[in-house]
Symmetry: C2
Subunit: 243 residues, 2 copies
């Protein structure tokens, strides 16, 4: 039976890949990875590269997922890539698919998985979870994501601010993933939602790269100049005990 | 300079430990781990055990954290264990502290970290993130935690149901961590919060053990007999697109 293993490669440091993922990469005959264009590098592949032994001569196949929100283009992309994956997995007998972070959090893997399960039940599928950026960021900032009975909410970009406002009122920790240009509005919203000025707040930019910057401050002290924020940013705030 | 590395050992499978954590364990002269009583095994240690080479003769020290919510006992426990950690780290020059899951999500590590940073600035501290149970569970159930612009909320036990209700209204995915005896109320609440009957729902019990059970269903179909739920349970629900 042909076997496909989807692998969460974590947020960037190859050493944050799990032992299980390393074993699956070693065992695979083909390595599949996503890229936004044929001539662009795959970020997931670049994370896993130090773990791939070139002496094994594994076949590396880039699947192209263009950056778009057009539903018709997305559907076509997922269909096409799921079919290409199925062909590669069946030809090789065993393959891995590399994704950034975790395969089930804001990843294209789930669309591929749904199609493969529906159209190619002959392929056995395993998934290896990966570390996501929010956890790596918490360890960098030395700040808890949640303690005791606290509730944690993760908000991606493309904010519906009405919903975010309601979530902020009832959550104890909020993590906002890219993109940084919204952070000015988010900070205002958190203040309105009753987070006290001494609520710890951390902002990270370009994590895992040479330009990485982690700023620890409070909601009261955070600089309003968030227009300088880069796209790959993360903001984490914890409700102060007295807040 | 003495160095302490806090390590997230993940949800149970030793292979879900990261390569970075494995390297830190190998390099440490002392291995510290939490246990609820002196005569009880440390769960974190039992996860990492297959990675520990007995030939290295590393010193293993159990720190006792009694199961209590008494604030005075907790404070005393954290103070005492932080001091014991500091003594061990300084004696050994390098040590690791093993925790289940991730050190910054519902872990005692943060209380220790705060005390060490305040009272022992001479100790260099690193933190290695770990896979948390919600991500392992998503991979087992083959269910996304969040896609696109969806918001994810994680709720631990000891529910304040008023806040949970407000969170449920604005979140797209909810993950409820132990304990299972509350799940009946949670299911009712999700229905009231407007999650449609066809919202995918999964329940896991005793994950990573021989008794592991994963049930995939929908909010409309889920069996009301949740009183059978064990303490170490997890419930995940995703808002149906038409919900």
């Amino acid at each position: 039976m042909a076997r496909l293993t989807a692998i969460g490669c974590g947020p960037g440091d190859p050493d944050l890949i799990t032992i299980k993922a390393k074993k699956a990469i070693d065992a695979a005959r083909t390595i599949l990875c996503p890229a936004s264009r044929e001539d662009r590098p795959s970020i997931a592949l670049s994370i896993a590269r130090p773990l791939i032994d070139p002496a094994r001569g594994q076949r590396v196949v880039k699947l192209v997922f263009p950056m778009t929100r057009d539903p018709a283009v997305l559907e076509e992309t997922w269909d096409r890539n799921a079919e290409e994956m199925a062909r590669e997995v069946e030809a090789a007998g065993s393959a891995v698919y590399l994704t950034v972070g975790d395969p089930y959090l804001y990843s294209t893997w789930m669309y591929l998985h749904a199609r493969l399960a529906r159209d190619h039940p002959e392929i056995e599928i395993d998934v290896v979870p990966g570390i996501v950026s929010a956890f790596m960021f918490a360890s960098r900032a030395g700040m808890s994501l949640a303690e005791g009975a606290e509730k944690l909410t993760i908000v991606p970009s493309c904010y519906d601010l009405t919903q975010v406002r309601e979530l902020a009122r009832s959550s104890d920790t909020m993590v906002f993933l890219k993109d940084g240009q919204y952070f000015g509005q988010v900070i205002e919203l958190l203040r309105e939602a009753g987070y006290a000025p001494d609520s710890p707040l951390a902002i990270g930019q370009d994590l895992g790269t040479e330009r990485e910057r982690v700023t620890k401050t409070t909601l009261g002290e955070v600089d309003a100049d968030t227009s300088q924020m880069r796209y790959f940013s993360i903001l984490m705030v914890r409700r102060a005990r007295n807040g």
